[in-house]
C-alpha cells in the first residue's frame, strides 16, 4: 500500500464522478491545444502556400484581395490585365520568374489556372519545393491540362481523361459520360481534343457558372502532392483559357466563334494575375531588389502589386484579436474545468469524511490528509491533461481533414511539445488549486464526530 495507491483506489471507487471530471478537463485542454495548433497550422499553411513568388500583380482593388484571389484562389478575380500591360511589366525588369495566370474557370469546384508551362516548371508551390509530376508530363498544347493531386484523387480522373471546364465556380463536368453529361448526345470520348460544338447553347449548371461545352480538354499529367492549397488546382494552357472565353465573348457579340488560337484577338488575351520573382543568389529565398521592384510597380496606378508574404502577415495581424479571444475562451474553459474538479472533490468529501476519520485513527496526520486530497486533484488534472492532449491530436487531424474537404485549405496541425507541456502543467496547477478548498475541508474533519456508529 502507498499513498498513490490509496488515492487511485479512492478515485476509481467513484468512477462516474472521476470520469466526468477528467473528461471536462480533457475537453478544455483539447480545445485550448487544438485552437493553438490550428492557428499555428493555418498560419504555416498560408505562409507556405505563398510559394516562391516575391510579388503578385493584378488589377484588383487591394493587395490583400490580389493575394487571396490570385494565389489562394479565394474568388475568381474580376478585373483583368491587358497583354500590353503584362508585357510592359515583364519587359521592364530582369525578373527571374514572370508567370501570367488567368483565373475564373473551375472544374467540379476546383479552380482552373490558365497559365504557361512555367507555372509547373518554375513556380514552387511551397518555398524551395518545386512541383513534381507524378504521372504524365507538363501541358504543351492549349487543350491539355495537368491535375493537382487532390483533383485527381477526388475526381478519379487520370491521364487521358477528358473534361469540360466551367466558367465561374459552378460545377462543371467530366466529358467521359456523354449520356448523363451532354444533353446534345455528342460522344465526347470520340470527339477530337479541342473540338468545337458550335450548335448548342451553353449549359447552365447553376447560378454561378456555365459549362464551356465548346472545348474539350485532356489530362496529360498529374502532380504529386505539395501539401499546399495548390494541390486542388487544374493547370492548363493560357491560350486554351483565352479560347474558352473568346467563345463566350463572340457569342455574346453575335460574331463567329474562334476555331483556333490564331483567331484570338488582343481583347481576348487577358490575364488576371502575374506571379513575379526577382533574381536571388543561390540558396536565398529573397533578395534586396524585391523592394526596389515593388516600389517601381506600385507607382503604376493601373495595377495593384502585392508582396504575398507581407499580405499574409497583414491578414494574421487582422485576425490576431480573434486569436486572443479564442485563447481566452480556451483558458476560460480550462478554469471552468478546474471548478468542476473542486465541486467533484468537495461533494465527495461529504461522503468521505468517515473514511478520512478512519485514516486519522490509523495514524494519518492532518497534513497527510491535505496532501492526499491535493494529490488526488492534481492526478485528475494530469490524467485530464493527458487525455486532452490525445484528443487534441485526434481532433486536429479531424479538423484538418474537414477543412481540406470543405474549403481546400491544407493545414498540418501538430501539437507542439512545449505548448502541450505548458498547458498540461498549467492544468495540473489549476486542478491542484481547485483541490485546495476540499483538501482544507478534509484537513478539518472532526474525527470523533465521524466515528459514531451508522444508524
Amino acid at each position: 500500500m502507498s499513498d498513490i495507491r490509496l488515492i487511485l483506489r479512492s478515485l476509481f471507487g467513484r468512477p462516474t464522478s472521476t470520469v466526468v471530471t477528467v473528461l471536462l478537463i480533457a475537453i478544455a485542454v483539447a480545445l485550448l491545444l487544438s485552437m493553438r495548433s490550428l492557428r499555428e497550422a493555418g498560419r504555416a499553411s498560408f505562409t507556405r502556400g505563398v510559394g516562391n513568388a516575391h510579388l503578385i500583380v493584378s488589377a484588383e482593388a487591394s493587395p490583400l484581395v490580389t493575394v487571396l484571389n490570385g494565389l489562394f484562389y479565394a474568388n475568381p478575380p474580376r478585373a483583368p490585365l491587358t497583354q500590353a500591360k503584362v508585357s510592359e511589366i515583364v519587359d521592364g525588369f530582369p525578373w527571374a520568374m514572370a508567370i501570367p495566370t488567368q483565373l475564373g474557370d473551375s472544374f467540379l469546384g476546383h479552380p482552373v489556372v490558365a497559365t504557361t508551362p512555367a507555372f509547373i516548371d518554375t513556380f514552387e508551390p511551397a518555398p524551395g519545393e518545386p512541383w513534381r509530376i507524378a504521372r504524365g508530363r507538363n501541358f504543351e498544347g492549349p487543350f491539355e491540362v495537368v491535375l493537382g493531386s487532390r483533383v485527381a484523387r477526388e475526381t478519379g480522373l487520370d491521364l487521358g481523361s477528358r473534361l469540360h471546364l466551367t466558367h465561374g465556380t459552378g460545377r462543371s463536368r467530366e466529358s467521359g459520360d456523354p449520356v448523363v453529361l451532354d444533353p446534345e448526345g455528342i460522344d465526347l470520348d470520340e470527339a477530337p481534343i479541342g473540338a468545337h460544338d458550335h450548335g448548342h447553347d451553353h449549359i447552365h449548371c447553376d447560378e454561378e457558372g456555365h459549362v464551356h461545352d465548346e472545348v474539350i480538354f485532356e489530362v496529360v499529367g498529374v502532380l504529386e502532392p505539395s501539401g499546399t492549397h495548390h494541390d486542388r488546382v487544374v493547370v492548363g494552357d493560357l491560350e486554351g483559357g483565352w479560347l474558352v472565353h473568346a467563345f463566350d465573348r463572340r457569342a455574346a457579340e453575335g460574331r463567329p466563334e474562334p476555331t483556333s488560337v490564331d483567331d484570338l484577338e488582343e481583347a481576348d488575351r487577358l490575364v488576371t494575375g502575374l506571379l513575379l520573382r526577382t533574381p536571388t543568389r543561390a540558396g536565398r529565398g529573397s533578395s534586396a531588389i524585391v523592394q526596389q521592384a515593388f516600389d517601381r510597380l506600385r507607382r503604376d496606378p493601373a495595377i495593384t502589386v502585392a508582396s504575398p508574404s507581407t499580405q499574409v502577415n497583414n491578414l494574421f495581424g487582422i485576425v490576431a484579436d480573434l486569436d486572443a479571444v479564442f485563447l481566452a475562451l480556451g483558458a476560460g474553459i480550462l478554469v471552468s474545468g478546474a471548478f468542476s474538479v473542486m465541486l467533484a472533490l468537495w461533494n465527495s468529501m461529504e461522503l468521505r469524511r468517515r473514511q478520512i476519520a478512519v485514516l486519522r485513527v490509523l495514524g494519518c496526520t492532518r497534513g497527510r490528509v491535505l496532501g492526499l486530497v491535493l494529490t488526488e486533484s492534481a492526478i485528475i488534472g494530469l490524467i485530464g491533461a493527458g487525455v486532452g492532449v490525445l484528443l487534441a491530436i485526434a481532433g486536429g487531424d479531424l479538423a484538418a481533414g474537414l477543412l481540406a474537404s470543405r474549403t481546400g485549405v491544407v493545414i498540418e496541425p501538430s501539437i507542439e511539445v512545449r505548448g502541450a507541456v505548458l498547458v498540461s502543467a498549467a492544468t495540473v496547477v489549476l486542478a491542484s488549486l481547485a483541490g485546495l478548498a476540499p483538501a482544507v475541508r478534509a484537513y478539518r474533519t472532526p474525527v470523533a464526530d465521524h466515528l459514531r456508529p451508522l444508524d
Binding site: 500500500m1 502507498s2 478512519v358
Partner: protein
C-alpha cells in the same frame, strides 16, 4: 515494567458543556480490562482521548511512558499509528478496499516499509481466519469484517488495543465469541486491551472490569 496506558488527572471539556474528569487509570502491559457503563456516559470519549484523537484540557495520558498531551498533533498521530490499535462497533473498514489493503493501510501510516505490507497483512489476516484476504471487505460477512478490523488493529504490533463497544450490534452468543476472539488475538500479539461496553454481562469474560462511574469524578459529568 512501564504501564502501557496511564491517565492522570485528565480533564476534557467539549464546547457543548460536556466535561469528563478521570483522576487515574493505569493499564499494565498485556492486561485486559472492561470499562462498563451505560450508553452516552463518555466511554467512547475516554478511548478517543487515550488515542490522542481528542485534546485534553488538563492532565497526562501516557502510552508506554510517553505523554500524548504535550505532543504536537503530527507526533501524536505517529505515536498512535505505531502503538495503538482501535476497534469499533461498526468496524470502520474502508469499503471498496480488500481485507489485505485495509490492514496494509495501518502498516502504511505506521511507517512499515511498503514491501512488507502484503505479507505482513496476509499473515495477520490468516491468523484471524480470513481465507480471502484479497476480497473486498464489503463483500465479506459481518463476522469476517470484525476479524479484519481486529487484524488491522493488531497488524502494527501495538502496545494497546482500544475497543469501543465492539459487541454492541451482536447477539449474546456472537458477542461472547467476539470478545473471546479479541482477547485471544491481543494475548497472542502481546497487546493490552481496554474494552468499553454498555453490556455488564461481558464482565465475566474479562479478567478485570472497571465501572465507568468509579473511574470518573462524578461531579464533572454534566451530560
Amino acid at each position: 515494567m512501564t504501564p502501557c496506558l496511564e491517565i492522570h488527572d485528565l480533564l476534557f471539556r467539549r464546547p457543548d458543556g460536556f466535561s469528563l474528569r478521570v483522576p487515574e487509570l493505569v493499564l499494565e502491559p498485556g492486561q485486559r480490562v472492561l470499562v462498563a457503563g451505560p450508553s452516552g456516559c463518555g466511554k467512547s470519549t475516554l478511548l478517543l482521548l487515550a488515542a490522542g484523537l481528542l485534546d485534553a484540557a488538563e492532565g497526562r495520558i501516557l502510552i508506554g511512558g510517553d505523554d500524548l498531551v504535550p505532543l504536537a498533533p503530527a507526533a501524536r498521530d505517529a505515536l498512535r499509528a505505531r502503538r495503538i490499535g482501535m476497534v469499533f462497533q461498526t468496524h470502520h473498514l474502508l469499503a471498496g478496499f480488500t481485507a489485505r489493503e485495509n490492514v496494509a493501510l495501518a502498516l502504511l501510516f505506521a511507517g512499515v516499509p511498503a514491501r512488507e505490507h502484503a505479507d505482513r497483512a496476509g499473515r495477520v489476516l490468516s491468523e484471524l481466519g480470513i481465507e480471502r484476504p484479497d476480497m473486498r471487505v464489503d463483500r465479506q460477512s459481518v463476522g469476517q469484517q470484525q476479524r479484519i478490523a481486529i487484524a488491522r488493529a493488531l497488524a502494527v504490533g501495538p502496545d494497546i488495543i482500544l475497543a469501543d463497544e465492539p459487541t454492541a450490534s451482536l447477539d449474546p452468543s456472537n458477542a461472547r465469541a467476539a470478545v473471546e476472539l479479541l482477547q485471544n488475538a491481543c494475548e497472542e500479539h502481546g497487546a493490552a486491551l481496554l474494552l468499553t461496553s454498555h453490556d455488564p454481562t461481558l464482565a465475566e469474560l474479562l479478567p478485570r472490569t472497571i465501572e465507568f462511574e468509579s473511574l470518573v469524578a462524578p461531579a464533572e459529568v454534566d451530560a
